[in-house]
């Protein structure tokens, strides 16, 4: 195990198949398809990230911040009414209770410590829902570093409260007007910034995407999620392994973190849930495993939504955090091998699931993990099976969308949740 953890550890590293090889590949997927202008930056990161992450001083500082600043370990909550409804023991991994309201902060804390050790003074990031931008702006305030966040103009409008939070934290939020003006375009702009500021700047990428070593780096920082799940389940059920793990997939970082320590344990069924938008084949979705073909996006070979001519397709989802036309290369490999199953939830299903969780458990989830919750109805559980759903973030940022979509029909339905 590389980055040692603050908690009691059952030492069992994932099998080598699910670790990147020397060239940054998970099977056929990954790599580092970057212009030469980025080579020095990416190579420096590649050469140094493992030794920095393995350094005990780094681990101590990282663990300390996760505990005292982020509030980890995040609770593993057994959702009794939800369990009753779906006929299994359903636990929610409460990443929504982290400081700043999502799992994104696990990665930004790790990366800002890494950036400091690389001697960088300026931080850039892309953001979709704004959660990663807020998490980045937060750690930059903490470490007194300059912070520039690129955000699609469309996302700035639909996630306005997060824009205000980033600015209050001292970040400069740059509206991106190119392409579909969402996450993919914000990522392009962040990469361009990095090309133009190669020496002083570290790019804190927000998911398990981008050129090697980012997918591995981010997965390692997010792997705190599955490490805690193991310990918490052991304590609660006497067994560290669940039967099912369910997580939403935009780029795939909360899912990678949720799956990480279980990749190697075949009895644990892994389910990733992508955004189907208005329907998988409606022309307005972000269902990369169904609609994607192998291609290159943001420096990585992965499954990618694209035209026959190789132009990257504009994705769509009601949730800004899942609105990405690809998935991280680890997920492409898990999908291709069949190790994990990928399902798709529509906007309407996600909204319904969000309202349901709110009324059943008194938890308003973010729209992204609402997609994961939405597929509980499609999985067939045995009553004594243990299911862990990663509740990757809280719904504050989505309140406006929820209020706009609160029809009478849903209100009454969610008051009587019992289903045959």
């Amino acid at each position: 195990m590389e980055n040692e953890q603050p908690y009691q550890e059952i030492s069992q590293a994932p099998r080598l198949d699910w670790q990147v090889n020397g060239r940054g590949y998970y099977g056929d997927f990954g790599g580092a398809f970057i212009p030469e202008m980025l080579h020095p930056n990416v190579e420096e990161l590649r050469n140094r990230y493992r030794s920095i992450l393995e350094d005990s001083g780094f681990q101590e500082e990282f663990a300390g911040l996760l505990r005292d600043y982020v509030g980890r370990p995040s609770p593993l909550y057994e959702a009794r009414r939800l369990s009753e409804k779906y006929g299994a023991r359903i636990f929610l991994k409460r990443e929504d209770l982290n400081h700043t309201g999502a799992h994104k902060i696990n990665n930004t804390v790790g990366q800002i410590l890494l950036a400091r050790r690389l001697g960088k003074t300026r931080i850039i990031a892309e953001t979709g829902a704004g959660q990663h931008g807020v998490a980045t702006a937060t750690v930059c305030a903490l470490m007194n570093m300059e912070c520039v966040v690129y955000m699609g103009a469309v996302d700035m409008a639909r996630q306005a409260p997060n824009v205000a939070r980033m600015e209050m934290l001292g970040a400069k939020v740059v509206p991106v007007q190119s392409g579909s003006r969402t996450l993919k375009d914000a990522t392009n702009e962040a990469i361009r910034d990095w090309i133009n500021h190669p020496l002083d700047t570290h790019y804190i990428i927000g998911s398990v995407v981008g050129p090697h070593p980012y997918p591995d780096l981010v997965a390692r920082f997010q792997s705190v999620i599955s490490r805690e799940i193991r310990n918490q389940l052991e304590e609660r059920t006497g067994q560290p392994n669940p039967d099912w793990l369910v997580a939403c997939v935009g780029g795939g970082s909360n899912a990678a973190g949720t799956f990480y320590h279980y990749l190697d344990i075949p009895s644990v069924k892994l389910v990733g849930v992508e955004a189907a938008g208005k329907g998988i084949h409606s022309g307005a979705s972000a269902a990369s495993t169904v609609l994607g073909r192998p291609g290159i996006i943001h420096g990585s070979r992965t499954l990618l939504m694209q035209t026959p001519d190789g132009q990257i397709t504009e994705p769509y989802s009601i949730s800004a955090g899942l609105d990405y036309p690809g998935i991280g290369p680890l997920h492409a490999a898990l999908f291709q091998s069949g190790r994990a199953t990928y399902l798709q939830a529509t906007d309407a299903e996600a909204l319904e699931a969000a309202f349901e969780l709110t009324r059943l458990e008194g938890i308003i989830p973010a729209l992204e993990p609402a997609h994961a919750l939405a597929k509980l109805k499609s999985l067939s559980f045995h009553p004594d099976e243990v299911v862990v759903v990663c509740l990757s973030g809280r719904g504050d940022k989505d309140l406006e969308t929820y209020i706009r979509n609160l029809p009478e029909k849903l209100k009454t339905e969610s008051k009587s949740p019992g289903k045959p």
Binding site: E36, M37, I195, G299, D309
Partner: protein, 266 residues
């Protein structure tokens, strides 16, 4: 002999290469602009294959690419626009673009179409040296198409030598670590040009990214064999009703009326 080698055999200074985006300003201007460039004295052209997500390009080239795409530009269409180009075009032609559209076309079919069309070389900024050597070098060599590599001021001497061994035709010096169209202080690049020039590499050096006018062209060519102009040319095309005239005016502005193309004077 590859036309690029031929060019540098005949002319080893003040080589002018010009980049433009295929399908721009209008969808069917590609050949018109190409012909205009040859007539007005460009030595080499780089035809840009538009891509939805051009991460190494600044706003001007991005905008030209999205306009071309919205007008219906595709790689297949580009090959058909250039199908008969070798009836009149003698100067070397490179295609420049991002890897994904090429991979979707298929690297091997792509290279075969390049040969059929009379393309001499390809520039793919997001295909790094390592991936090229492992996956594609043999395909390029089998078809006799050159892949031109880029180096930056931060590229180490060992890596520059490795690229000199792998590149075809010339080495492309990116004049600063920046996306296309950034105006940089060119003077500061000259020590880097000189440093690379003194390495005794086996390929000629051509510098790009940030060269805009006759002065830049002449100054840069005191240090290396040639330059590429892209953004400034796209800007000239974008404001014009008559791409052929705009091309002639732009190139004569770079070469200068008193300095005919091919002049050996320094």
């Amino acid at each position: 002999m590859n036309r690029i080698d031929q060019l540098f055999c005949e002319k080893d200074q003040r080589v002018l290469s010009v980049y433009f985006t295929a399908g721009y300003p209008r969808l069917n201007d590609t050949f018109l602009v190409l012909e205009g460039l040859q007539e007005s004295g460009a030595d080499l052209v780089e035809v840009g294959i538009p891509f939805s997500d051009p991460i190494a390009d600044g706003p001007v080239i991005q905008e030209s690419g999205s306009r071309a795409l919205s007008q219906g530009m595709t790689l297949e269409l580009l090959f058909s626009q250039l199908r008969d180009c070798r009836r009149s075009i003698r100067i070397p032609i490179l295609l420049m673009g991002y890897l994904n559209p090429v991979l979707q076309y298929g690297m091997e079919p792509f290279l075969r179409r390049c040969v059929e069309t009379g393309i001499d070389g390809v520039i793919l900024p997001d295909l790094p040296l390592e991936e090229y050597e492992i996956q594609y070098r043999k395909l390029f060599q089998d078809q006799g198409i050159y892949l031109v590599f880029m180096i930056t001021p931060e590229t180490s001497p060992e890596r520059i030598r490795a690229m000199d061994r792998a590149t075809g035709g010339f080495l492309y010096l990116v004049s600063s670590s920046s996306t296309t169209g950034k105006e940089k202080d060119l003077g500061r690049q000259f020590s880097y040009f000189d440093r690379v020039a003194r390495m005794g590499l086996s390929h000629p050096l051509v510098a790009g990214f940030g060269i805009r006018n006759q002065k830049d062209f002449r100054e840069a060519c005191k240090h290396i064999q040639g330059v590429v102009i892209g953004t400034a040319f796209i800007e000239a095309l974008s404001g014009s009703e008559d791409p052929r005239q705009a091309t002639a005016d732009f190139i004569s502005g770079i070469l200068g009326p008193s300095t005919p193309a091919g002049s050996k004077s320094k």
